[in-house]
Every structure is written in structure tokens, then in C-alpha cells.
């Protein structure tokens, strides 16, 4: 799975404004809309929230990976957001989340959607990578952590 086929500088936001889970997800979805990657923002939001209601995607160490399969996209799309102060994402360790990786994949396609998430998760597993992302002052610096 090549991350650079999915991620680019325009799909990274280093200073998210949202103050709760819904606002953060809406903000990330807007990035995808602005870049012409998303056909139906409302549908995508509902699908992501359905998934979040099943089980929160706020994992540990400040990382959250909201994701869903949806008819609102034709291909696997993703974007990265950073909010240094963090927001409550109902994460497993109870800590606020500050690195968000949102992924949407078409519901009727067979494709490496979880593999993409796994690749991302593998990279940000280390403390060093997470610190680099949080301290990044440009979108370029964030992408460099992922080798892009």
C-alpha cells in the first residue's frame, strides 16, 4: 500500500479548530470536500458516527482513526489532522486525542482499506513519530513522518 497515492499536503491540517468529536470529524470531512474527494459530506458523517457509536476509534497515546465504508466516495480517501491541545474522543486510555487520521473507503469495493489504516498505525506507533507530528510547523513535516 503506497501512502503517497492517498495522502498529499492539501490533505493535512496542522491546527484543527474543533472542540469535540463531531466538530473534528466535520472539519476533516470538509478538507476532503475542498479537495474534491467527497461526494456527500452528510452521508459520510453519518457513516463515520455510526462506526464511532459501535466502538470509538480513539485508540491510545493521543491517536484516533475515525473510519467507515461509505457510498460517499469512489476510492479510498484519507486526511490527517492535528490538534495540539487534544479533544475527548472517548479513547481507550481516557486521554484526549490529538492526532486524527480519517479514512473513507467505498462500501461496495474490495480494497485495502484496513491495510491502509494498519500502515499508518504502524508508523505512528512510536513515540518519536507522534512527537514529530505534534511539533510539526508545516504540512510537509507531517507527511515526512510517513515517508512522503
Amino acid at each position: 500500500m503506497k501512502l503517497k497515492n492517498v495522502l498529499s499536503e492539501k490533505l493535512v491540517a496542522i491546527d484543527l479548530k474543533g472542540t469535540n468529536k463531531e466538530e473534528i470529524i466535520q472539519e476533516l470531512l470538509q478538507i476532503l470536500v475542498d479537495n474534491g474527494k467527497l461526494k456527500d459530506k452528510e452521508l459520510a458523517f453519518n457513516n463515520i458516527m455510526e462506526r464511532e457509536n459501535q466502538m470509538s476509534t480513539g485508540i491510545q497515546q493521543g491517536v484516533a482513526i475515525p473510519h467507515a465504508k461509505t457510498k460517499a466516495v469512489d476510492n479510498l480517501v484519507a486526511c490527517i489532522g492535528v490538534k495540539k491541545d487534544g479533544v475527548d474522543f472517548s479513547s481507550l486510555d481516557g486521554e484526549p486525542s490529538n492526532i486524527f487520521i480519517l479514512t473513507l473507503s467505498p462500501s461496495d469495493h474490495i480494497g485495502p482499506h484496513v491495510q491502509f489504516l494498519a500502515e499508518i498505525s504502524r508508523i505512528i506507533r512510536t513515540e518519536e513519530s507522534r512527537t514529530k507530528i505534534l511539533e510539526a510547523t508545516s504540512t510537509k513535516q507531517v507527511l515526512s513522518v510517513f515517508g512522503i
Binding site: Q54, M55, I110, G111, P112, V114, Q115, A118, E119, R125
Partner: protein, 543 residues
């Protein structure tokens, strides 16, 4: 034509019924491999026993064809060959290619030694015990020596496959040595035919022709192996875009059939081409899924192959040479056991491994009869000595399977060193506990669906002890086991490489989330008592 087809259908029907029943009895009650039952079924219903008896005006069900070494019709022989192609294609798929390549050097030593020792023991005992044969260069001695050399890879492959031993160091060594055996045997046969024709008819040995046979056989083997290894991953990668496993399986089997035909054209046995195709595909991510699909079809054809092999045993041919034939068969047995087992000790195997390899190389099959048939047709051997070949095949086919099973039953590896296979490095285990086996199975089904959605191929490994699944996409290999614990609890174990751990965890996470939603849907259903009464209300009403 239509009558021939009618007879063929009847023959196939009886073969299937007999092999399945007798195979079942052998496996269940006599604790013997199924293949032995299938061979015995062939002997019983074949043209030399019950099948030769006339059924009123219909005549015998298995009439002996005229002027043929093979005692069944060409059509039935064709279908049995198809069975052998299914078997060897599947054996190839089950072989581990890196291990095969790693052990091919050792297999060469073992195969070569097996051929040399068997040949000289067979030819030697013929000179020693048959007054009419005076030297090792006598055509009869040469042919009987050659009869001793060819291993029947089919019987061994079936037993190794049934016992999941093909991918072991001993398994791949046996398979590689048996394949090599076939190449050497075909070269040896052409040498023997050349020498015999000179002895019988005069003239000079055509070494050019013999060299040509040898070159064709070796070149075919080498070229197909190299091309297969290079092309197989590209083939599956392109075929996967079509997204249909059945289509990949059927096209792959088509290639196996083409290669089987070409193999025969190059002078080798057809099964060699089928094996090479399977072996080349064994490195791809679809190998397990292909094998599972092929097995369901091959169970119809493979027994026909073994039954026809059993049908070749002509009991009346054994009468006149019983004493010599028995001694010869035992010598042929020892020739392979020692000829292959002894060098195995010097190439890294322990005594257990050497015995396994020796036993694996014992079975003789149709090649024995084909060699003897050529000898008989050319006048190099008489009918009595042909009977000796039949006895060798009978003894080896009946005695080898139980011996091979017993050899592999003993616990422990037969290889001195520990195998360091790539997939065992950096392996991690992820364990999860579940309140019941049903819950575990339910969630795992959902996980496997998820893997399939991600483009993975899932196949069942073994359902006898634990539910075990092989999940693969290109280089990513994951094994999933569902184990029953105490008090009906269950444990799910994933085995994967460290770099795929996050993937497996996320996949499981998504499936558990799905399951929770499902559980909530269930609990929101109508009151269960109400549902029961709705279901039962009309059950006992009288109309």
C-alpha cells in the same frame, strides 16, 4: 462409440463405489491409508479378478484390450491419468517452494543413489538367480534393473498429502527425489532400450539418440521450473484483477494439463508437468485456496487412478515365477530403502528422516509396468519376467503405504538442523478470549469476511482438531486458530509477522464493533417468547 462410452460410465461408476467403500473400510477399520484400499479395490474389481468374469451376454465389465500392456481401455486409462494430474497438481500446490529449492541438492544425491543401487541390485539378483541370464549386460537383466528404479510419486504424494507432510523437509526431499527419479529413469530406459536392441538385433548403440532423450528430459524440467517460478506470481496477480477464484483455479488447472501434455512430449511422465505447475503456484497467495478447490474435484478422479493401478496386477502371471518374483520384489524394496535412506543420513537427515525418505521412495506404480511392457514388446524379457515386474509393483504398492504412514507417525523431525523458514522470523501471536465457541466462530467468520474484502484469500487448514484458517495476500500470511477452552470458552489466536500486527488488530477491532451492533439489533427484536409462539402457533393445527 456409444457402447464404449456406456461401458466407460459403468466402469467409472463401479470404480468410484468400490474405491470409496473399500477405502473407507481400510481407513476406518484397518487403520490403513485410503490409497491402499483404492489399490485393493482396483485389484478386486479389475480385469484379472471379478471384472474379468462375463456378465451374461454383456461380457466382462473390464474386458482386456488386445495388444496393450495396460489392461484397461484407453478411455479409462485416460481418465485415470487425469486423476494422477489432479493429484500431482495438488501435491505441487502443497509443496513449499523455498524448502523444495533448498532441499533439491540433497534430493539429487538421494534420487541418484536410489536409482543406481536399485538398478544394480535388480540386475544383479536376476543374473544370480536366473540361469538363462548370464551377465549384467543381458537385456533381461538390464530391463529388470530398470524396473526397480522408478518410484511411483502418486502413492507417496497421496499419503503425504493426507497426513499433511508434503511441506516437511522429508516430504519435499521425497517429492524432489521422486521427480528426479523419473527424469533419470527415462534416460536409463532409453540407454537400456539402446543396448538391448544392439544385443538382440546387432548394430551399434545410438548414443546420439540417447543423449537427445536425456537432454530433452532435463531441459524440459529445468526450463519449466525456471519459467514457472518467474511467471506464476505475475499470472495470479493479473488473474486476481478478475476477482474470481474459481476462474483462477480452472485456468491454472488448464495450464497444468497443457504442461502435462508437453511433459509427455518431452519423454517424461505427464504428472511431472502437473507437479511443476502446482509447485510454481505454491509460492503465490492463492495456493491454499486453489488447493482447497482442486481437492473437492480431485476426490472424484484420484481414486480412479489408484484403482486402475491396482487393476494392473495380473495374479495369473505371478504363479510360474512366484519364488523368484518374491525375492526380486524384496530386493527391489531393499534397493530403494537403502539406496535412498543411506545417503539421506549423510546429507543432514537423522535415522528417522532417512527411514521416512527410504519408505517414501518405495512405492512402484504404472511406470514399472510400462518399462516391463516395453521390454516385453521388444523381446528383451519374456512373460515370466514380466510377471516379476507385476509382483514388484504389487509388493511395493501394498507394503509401502502402511510403512510410510508408520514412518511419519513417529514424533519428531527427521532433519538434524532446525529449519529457519522466513515466515517464522519476527512472528507475533495475538490472543483473544471469548465466552463461547459459537461467539468466537461468529466473530471470526466476520473477520474473515473482512479479510476477503481487503483482497485476501482465506482457506481452511485443518478442521479435525481446531478450526484453523490460512489468510494470505501476496507476502502477508496470517494464521487464525479457534481453540476450545474449558467450560465451553474459546480462545482465538492470530499468528502473523510483526509488521502486520496493527492490521490484524484493526481488522479484529472492526469485526468486534460490527458484532456489537449485531448484538444490539438482536436485542431490539420482538420479545423472544412472542416469536416462539408465532412460530409454533400453527404447527399442530389440523387442517
Amino acid at each position: 462409440m456409444s457402447e464404449e462410452m456406456m461401458v466407460l460410465m459403468l466402469q467409472l461408476g463401479f470404480i468410484l463405489i468400490a474405491t470409496k467403500f473399500i477405502g473407507y473400510v481400510f481407513a476406518k477399520y484397518l487403520k490403513q491409508p485410503k490409497v491402499l484400499g483404492e489399490l485393493v479395490a482396483g485389484m478386486i474389481i479389475g480385469p484379472y479378478l471379478l471384472g474379468g468374469l462375463a456378465l451374461g451376454s454383456f461380457g466382462p465389465l473390464f474386458p482386456l484390450p488386445l495388444n496393450s500392456t495396460v489392461p484397461v481401455s484407453p478411455a479409462l486409462y485416460g481418465i485415470s491419468t487425469l486423476g494422477s494430474i489432479f493429484l500431482l497438481f495438488d501435491s505441487g500446490l502443497e509443496t513449499d517452494l523455498p524448502t523444495f529449492i533448498k532441499f533439491s541438492g540433497k534430493a539429487t544425491v538421494i534420487g541418484l543413489s536410489g536409482v543406481i543401487v536399485s538398478f544394480f541390485l535388480g540386475a544383479g539378483i536376476t543374473v544370480l538367480l536366473r540361469p538363462e541370464v548370464s551377465s549384467l549386460m543381458d537385456p533381461s537383466a538390464l530391463f529388470l534393473g530398470t524396473v526397480c528404479t522408478a518410484t511411483s510419486i502418486g502413492i507417496t504424494a497421496r499419503i503425504l498429502g493426507e497426513n499433511k507432510k508434503i511441506a516437511t523437509p522429508e516430504g519435499v526431499t521425497i517429492m524432489a527425489a521422486a521427480v528426479l527419479d523419473d527424469v533419470i529413469s527415462i534416460v536409463l530406459l532409453s540407454v537400456v532400450v539402446g543396448i538391448s536392441s544392439v544385443q538382440l538385433e546387432g548394430g551399434a548403440i545410438d548414443w546420439g539418440m540417447i543423449g537427445n532423450v536425456a537432454f530433452k528430459a532435463i531441459a524440459f524440467w529445468a526450463i519449466c521450473m525456471v519459467l514457472g517460478i518467474i511467471l506464476a506470481p505475475h499470472f495470479t496477480k493479473n488473474m486476481k484483477r478478475l476477482g474470481q477464484l474459481p476462474l483462477i483455479t480452472e485456468v491454472a488447472f488448464g495450464i497444468a494439463l497443457v504442461l502435462a501434455g508437453l511433459s509427455e512430449m518431452a519423454g517424461l511422465a505427464m504428472i511431472i508437468g502437473a507437479y511443476i505447475t502446482g509447485l510454481s503456484l505454491s509460492q503465490t497467495d492463492v495456493a491454499h485456496a486453489l488447493s482447497a478447490r482442486i481437492e473437492s474435484v480431485s476426490e472424484f478422479f484420484v481414486p480412479v487412478f489408484f484403482a486402475v493401478m491396482g487393476m494392473m496386477v495380473n495374479f495369473s502371471a505371478l504363479k510360474s515365477v512366484l519364488g523368484f518374483a518374491l525375492i526380486f520384489a524384496v530386493i527391489a524394496f531393499i534397493g530403494k530403502l537403502v539406496g535412498c535412506g543411506l545417503p539421506a543420513l549423510f546429507v543432514g537427515f537423522n535415522a528417522r528422516g532417512a527411514f521416512r525418505i527410504g519408505s517414501g521412495m518405495l512405492p512402484r506404480g504404472e511406470v514399472t509396468l510400462i518399462v516391463a511392457g516395453i521390454g516385453l514388446a521388444s523381446g528383451a524379457i519374456n512373460h515370466e519376467l514380466f510377471g516379476v515386474a507385476v509382483m514388484t509393483m504389487l509388493v511395493a504398492s501394498v507394503a509401502a503405504p502402511p510403512m510410510l504412514v508408520a514412518a511419519f507417525k513417529a514424533p519428531g523431525s527427521g532433519y538434524k538442523k532446525k529449519l529457519n523458514l522466513k515466515q517464522n522470523e519476527n512472528q507475533v501471536t495475538i490472543e483473544l478470549d471469548f465466552p463461547s465457541l459459537r461467539t468466537a466462530q461468529f466473530i471470526c467468520d466476520s473477520v474473515m469476511d473482512g479479510f476477503v474484502q481487503e483482497g485476501f484469500f482465506v482457506s481452511t487448514l485443518d478442521t479435525s482438531k481446531v478450526a484453523s484458517y490460512h489468510i494470505r495476500k501476496e507476502d502477508v500470511i496470517i494464521q487464525l486458530d479457534i481453540l476450545r477452552e474449558e467450560e465451553d470458552q474459546a480462545k482465538v489466536k492470530f499468528f502473523c509477522n510483526e509488521e502486520d500486527e496493527s492490521f490484524v488488530r484493526l481488522m479484529m477491532l472492526d469485526s468486534v464493533a460490527d458484532f456489537q451492533e449485531f448484538a444490539e439489533t438482536i436485542s431490539s427484536m420482538k420479545d423472544s417468547e412472542m416469536m416462539s409462539s408465532q412460530l409454533l402457533i400453527n404447527m399442530f393445527s389440523i387442517k
